[in-house]
């Protein structure tokens, strides 16, 4: 085990501290903390100004602990140690933010249910308005479709058939009357209607 008392600041120092961690130098993790924690904090604060201090500290320390406890997870040949830690801290912060977002959304939806069940009319009124708006919109769409049917259908029978289809009518007898095929056997009526 080699003990190094220097304060690292460049690529060579990063390599050195990594090797000290692998060699079980008990001072390496403390030196690394001195070297990287504030740098990582500043990096994340600048890049994620919407995050609070606790979230940033959380992400920074998580990345630091993970690396110190498993230094072999870092491949020296791929990139600098600080870049590796920045990436890890950033990923941890993104995970934290995503978890918090999911939690907030869940709380909002639970609050809505509670308010609707307990607190009175506010949400019921909102829902009523929303439904009324939807019904009005649906009527507009139907009217537009009927207008299209008028334009496309050649005669009144065609128009009526298309209107029935538009209204989702399924009864063969209604279509049979319209097509004047009620004298045919039911099976035949069905075949023609289809």
């Amino acid at each position: 085990m080699e003990i190094n008392s220097g304060r690292p600041s460049d690529r060579q120092s990063e390599i050195e501290i990594h090797q000290r961690l692998l060699a079980n130098d008990p001072l390496a993790s403390s030196d690394l903390a001195e070297m990287c924690l504030e740098v990582l904090e500043k990096y994340l604060t600048r890049k994620y100004p919407q995050s609070d201090q606790h979230q940033i500290y959380d992400a920074v320390t998580k990345a630091y602990f993970n690396y110190v406890e498993q230094p072999a997870s870092y491949d020296l040949s791929k990139k600098g140690l600080m870049s590796f830690l920045k990436m890890a801290a950033e990923r941890d912060l993104q995970n934290l933010l995503a978890t918090q977002k999911r939690r907030t959304l869940r709380m909002v939806s639970l609050d809505r249910v509670e308010l609707r069940d307990v607190a009175g009319n506010t949400n019921i009124e909102e829902e009523f308005i929303s439904r009324t708006e939807n019904i009005a919109r649906l009527k507009e769409v139907k009217a537009a479709r009927l207008k299209q049917i008028d334009l496309v259908a050649d005669n009144s029978v065609d128009q009526e058939i298309m209107s029935l289809m538009q209204a989702d009518t399924r009864d063969t007898r209604i279509f049979a009357q319209l097509l004047q095929i009620t004298h045919l056997p039911l099976k035949e009526q069905r075949r023609i209607v289809k």
Partner: protein, 123 residues
């Protein structure tokens, strides 16, 4: 580090406190000892012969491994040299904490329970 968080905490203090939950770090042992002995941070620093400001950096050192005596001695010496503190208090602290941990391991608890549940020969 204690959980009494200051208004403007540094990321270093935060990490040092969090390290108490990671057995790899010396902080896990320092905090365990502090709690068992009912000490304040300043008292712990005094016991170790360390300026209180240095506790955070000490806390983030790796915990010397008692299971490997040669390595333990080398690691302990390295820490004490760097922080200019005497060997004995830190060595004593680490041994005491290892004893607390041995007392509370599940194997020991189960052995103690089995012993209590053993029917007496008089029955």
């Amino acid at each position: 580090m204690s959980d009494n968080k200051s208004q403007k905490d540094s990321v270093m203090s935060f990490a040092a406190r969090r390290a108490a939950k990671h057995s790899h770090f010396l902080e896990a042992a320092l905090e365990s000892y502090r709690q068992h002995e009912g000490l304040e941070q300043a008292e712990l620093a005094t016991y170790l012969g360390l300026p209180p400001k240095q506790l955070e950096r000490l806390a983030l050192c790796a915990r010397p491994d008692l299971a490997e005596p040669t390595l333990f001695r080398t690691q302990l010496a390295a820490i004490c040299t760097r922080f200019s503190i005497p060997l004995a208090p830190l060595a004593n602290l680490l041994r005491r904490v290892a004893a607390y941990e041995a007392e509370s391991t599940p194997t020991n608890l189960m052995a103690a329970r089995d012993h209590e549940e053993e029917p007496s020969r008089d029955e």
